[in-house]
Structure formats: structure tokens, C-alpha cells
Symmetry: C2
Subunit: 214 residues, 2 copies
DNA sequence: TTGAAACATGAGTCAACATTCAGGTTCCGA
DNA sequence: TCGGAACCTGAATGTTGACTCATGTTTCAA
């Protein structure tokens, strides 16, 4: 949906008329809902077209195959997530604060996009390439953010590749646990606790004075 | 496999003869390999029985359905993983050190059990109950470990539920990235960097001497 | 030795889709 | 008002693969 890439939609450049664009949108939305609710393999194309309110054959006017919609959905979710995150972080005073805001925004985003979130996770098995790409792009931006922050002294030095994957993993699991499974939990409290861990780690805090290390 | 639970195998108590136990083992091993390599939906029962070297019908002597083997596999992986981890951690002098050892052992375990690892991840979509149970059991033990360590002052206080899920997520993603996708990476370096993040967080370290910030 | 419990087998059944296709319908510029 | 481009449709096709079952074979206790 939205205004992103249009290369995974059929062969050509996309719908030529307004009517076509509306139909495409309806199909993508319906597919997102169905895949998100029932999972890829349990979802029949006919259930997508039914939900979209179009004929079965229409699906193949817009997509070459079942897998293609799925891939389009994953790509779309990637673009949306990156957008939401960069928005939420754009006026953070420093990297540590950006982490706090980012984790919170991420949890909220997952909650409001459960279906597409499940689609992304399932992509690991349905469309591994799309899944890898999703996290590759993400990791790349994240890594640069960390590297620059480290240079500025806002965070410690470290193996950024490893850190990025650990942080993405933490967010992903929290998204699953508190965004998808248990959406009653207090996002504020969770993101606070999470960013505290990411920022300060498990080590006991040196009390305001005295004792630094062994 | 191994000597764990036997309640997910068919209706009855399990094979009565040695011959039967061997066949069951062969089927479980074959199923693990096939599911791990091709994924649940791409794997045909016939390919499992072929790999196991038994007839197709034999499969249904031991399992009620395709999903049942899958669930048995997830449960088995859970038991094995917990065992491997508790072994690796059993004589850690303190919790922080236990984290270090744990993350390292986990990465190594994933590498040597790639197939079953993929099975566990795919369970999220194939057998959600099994997946939730896998992490629930894990989280419970982990949480207690953290709570006790906090009481002893070995780690800081915090929301242990959140921390546990964040830490499990970090390990899981690192397992995927460095255990499954890129098994050339140096496990030692990765687990070192990871545990450093988990223990100390991203916050800049107060340098022993000079310069702290801008 | 024997019979029955345990185990093994693979051809055949059957339902579930993904995808195709031949034939419409709608839209719009000339 | 016409022609063709864009779009729509759903019955029919073909494949795939989980699961059944009727019929063996092996094991072993009595």
C-alpha cells in the first residue's frame, strides 16, 4: 500500500486507472488481514479475493502468484516500520534517548499492525529472501546510527554488528510478547524496562558514590 | 529422541519392543532433518519415511498426524536446549558469568542443532501452542534465575519479565544470525560482544582515567 | 510350536487449492 | 459512436500430498 516501491506488483508498472489502483489496494489489504490471521498456508487465494470483494481471477491480474503478494506485503511493512521509527526518533537529543523512543514506538507500531507483523515473521519460512532483506536494511541503518553515536561518545564502543542483532532480537521478542500476545500490558512500563536493560545492562549499578569495579 | 517425555507419541505409551524404539528414533531423526532442511509445508511424509528407510504406512503406526511429529520435535528440542544450557552454566561463579557462558553455549548449541532450531522457530506458525510453551518454560526458569541474582545483589533490580524476553530475543536473533546464517563467525567474539552488551548496556563507560565525553 | 500382539507396508482414496483461460464489461480518447 | 486498452470473472484443470486400510511379517511368551 502507500506510495512505496512498485516493482513487486505484476510485471508492469502497476494499475493505469484509479479503478485499478483501488482494486490493488483492496487486494493488498485483504491479503494482509488474511495472512495475518490465518497464516500463509492456511490462507486460500479465494478467501483473499472474497474479503476484497473481487472475483478470483482478478487476483492474477495484479499478482503473478500467491508468494508475490506475500513478498509485497513484507516489503511494504519494512518501509512502513522504518518510516514510523525514523519519525519517532527524529528529534531525540542523543542516542540513548533515541533507543528509548525507538523501542516504545516499535511496540506501539506492532500493536497497531499485528497482521503485517505476523506476516513479516512468517516470511522467514515463506520468503526467506524477503525476510533477510527486511532485517538487512534495518540492521544497516541501525549499525550506522550506533557507530556514529559511539564516535560522538554517546555510547560505548563495541561490536556493532553483534549489538544491532541483539537489540533487534530483543525488540522483536518484546514485540511478540507484549505487542501481539499480550496487548494489555503497559507499553510505557515495558519500553522503560527494556531500554533500561539495553542502556545499562544487567550489571549492578554502582551506587551514586564509592566502588567502581574490582 | 533421547530419554524425555513420551506423551506426544501416538495414543499409547510408546513402542513395546526394541525394534519399535529403533524405528521411532529413525522417524524422529529423519523428521527433524527434513523439516529443518525444507520446512514443514515443503516436507512430505513420504520423504521422511524414505529418509528413515521405512514404509509410508509405518509413519502412522507411530504418529497420529504430520503435526504430531512436529510437536514432538519441538518438545524434544526444548528439553535438550534446557539441558545443554543448565550444564554449561552449572558452575558459574555468579550470574553475570552465567550469562556469558549461557550465550556462548547457546550459540554453539544452535550451530550443532540447526535443523531442530529451525523447527522451533517455525513452530510459531505450525504449532503455536508448542512454540509458546517452549519459551514459557524457558522464561520461567530464566526469570527465577534473575530474581535470585538480583536479591543477591549480583545484578541490578528490574522488571524481570521484560528483561527475560529481551534477553531471549537477543540470543535468538544472534543464534539465527551467527548460528544458522553465518556459521563461520567466531562464536567467542560474538558471545563476548553480546554478553558485554547484556551486562553493561550501551551507555558509555566511565573511562578509568582521562576523557569521558565531549 | 504356536498364536496373538506388535510392527511394517504401499497402493488407493479424497479433498484442497493454486493457477489458467476464454469470454465478458467498463472506461475513455478520437 | 467506435475501438481498443484496462480491467473483471469464475468454472474448469491439474497437481499434490495427508491419511486409510487390508494385508503381510516379525517377535516372543507360554
Amino acid at each position: 500500500m502507500s506510495q512505496h516501491s512498485g516493482s513487486e506488483v505484476a510485471e508492469k508498472t502497476g494499475p493505469k486507472t484509479e479503478r485499478g489502483r483501488r482494486t490493488l489496494r483492496k487486494l493488498l489489504d485483504a491479503a494482509g488481514e488474511e495472512f495475518g490471521a490465518r497464516g500463509y498456508h492456511e490462507t486460500a487465494i479465494s478467501s483473499i479475493t472474497q474479503r476484497a470483494g473481487v472475483g478470483l481471477g482478478t487476483f492474477y491480474v495484479y499478482f503473478k502468484s500467491k508468494e508475490e503478494v506475500f513478498r509485497a506485503l513484507v516489503a511494504d511493512m519494512g518501509a512502513r516500520t522504518r518510516h514510523a521509527l525514523s519519525e519517532s526518533v527524529k528529534d531525540a537529543p542523543n542516542r540513548l534517548e533515541a533507543e528509548r523512543l525507538g523501542i516504545r514506538a516499535y511496540l506501539e507500531f506492532v500493536r497497531t499492525h499485528k497482521s503485517l507483523y505476523r506476516v513479516v515473521m512468517e516470511a522467514q519460512f515463506v520468503a526467506p529472501e524477503s525476510y533477510a532483506e527486511y532485517y538487512r536494511v534495518f540492521a544497516e541503518a541501525y549499525r550506522q546510527g550506533l557507530a556514529q553515536a559511539a564516535k560522538r561518545g554517546e555510547i560505548s564502543e563495541g561490536n556493532d554488528d553483534v549489538r544491532v542483532w541483539a537489540l533487534m532480537g530483543a525488540s522483536t521478542f518484546l514485540g511478540l510478547r507484549y505487542g501481539v500476545w499480550d496487548d494489555d500490558a503497559d507499553v510505557g512500563a515495558v519500553s522503560q524496562a527494556a531500554s533500561d536493560l539495553m542502556i545499562n545492562g544487567l550489571a549492578p549499578r554502582p551506587k551514586k558514590n564509592g566502588d567502581a569495579s574490582s
